[in-house]
Symmetry: C2
Subunit: 125 residues, 2 copies
């Protein structure tokens, strides 16, 4: 028993973008903080978010944090993710499923943008 982390991205036709999330899941899994860490996708890539949730449960989680890998989540989008959370909670009554906030507005995003800008300036100077 323990907490699992289910990373959720939109999914892309660009395999490289999907692999970025899988790589992130691998890295966090290696930390050992979570009993399971799975990458999942709303569309265009596998596994789906519900399948990712099921895998977390099969790996022994009694709590699953659904973490959006999105800069911002519109109303439409939050509703979709909330509905998936609710379906998983209904399917596994003994497991707590919690939806985390998207990454948007986190102060560290500003640091990332500024670092990328500085890298570009240094390369071209």
């Amino acid at each position: 028993m323990g907490t699992a982390l289910l990373l959720m991205a939109h999914g892309s036709r660009n395999a490289e973008a999907n692999d970025d999330l899988r790589r992130l899941a691998d890295e966090i899994r290696a930390d050992g903080e979570y009993v399971a860490v799975e990458a999942s996708f709303l569309e265009l890539a596998e596994p789906s978010i519900p399948d990712g949730g099921r895998k977390c449960v099969s790996l022994g989680a009694d709590r699953v944090v659904l973490a959006p890998y999105f800069l911002s989540a519109g109303v439409h989008f939050r509703r979709d993710l909330q509905a998936i959370r609710d379906e998983l909670a209904a399917e596994f009554p003994g497991v707590v499923f919690t939806l985390a906030e998207p990454m948007g507005r986190h102060p560290l995003l500003r640091e990332i943008v500024l670092q990328r800008a500085r890298e570009a300036t240094n390369q071209s100077s």
Copy 2:
């Protein structure tokens, strides 16, 4: 003369998401590191990326860093951004336009996801 930062997002039908980028531009502008800091959008919101670039030039920039506010940029997407950069460079031969890397794979993204997950766990416990 100096360097401007042109933040570029996809643009969303969700006004809140677009405002997130404008707020980020405001914050970075307040730092005073750049001669101009503008938010711009590929579609669905204003200003467009070319118009944002023109504004940077009108504000006195002789160098503009185009910084994608994206977690990952697929092949299709990089090509679009590169084409916009090239058009701006042709329109303003005296200004250097440099395209920065997207935010994806930056190590701080992992920290943000983990913090969001911990916030969710603390709220529900």
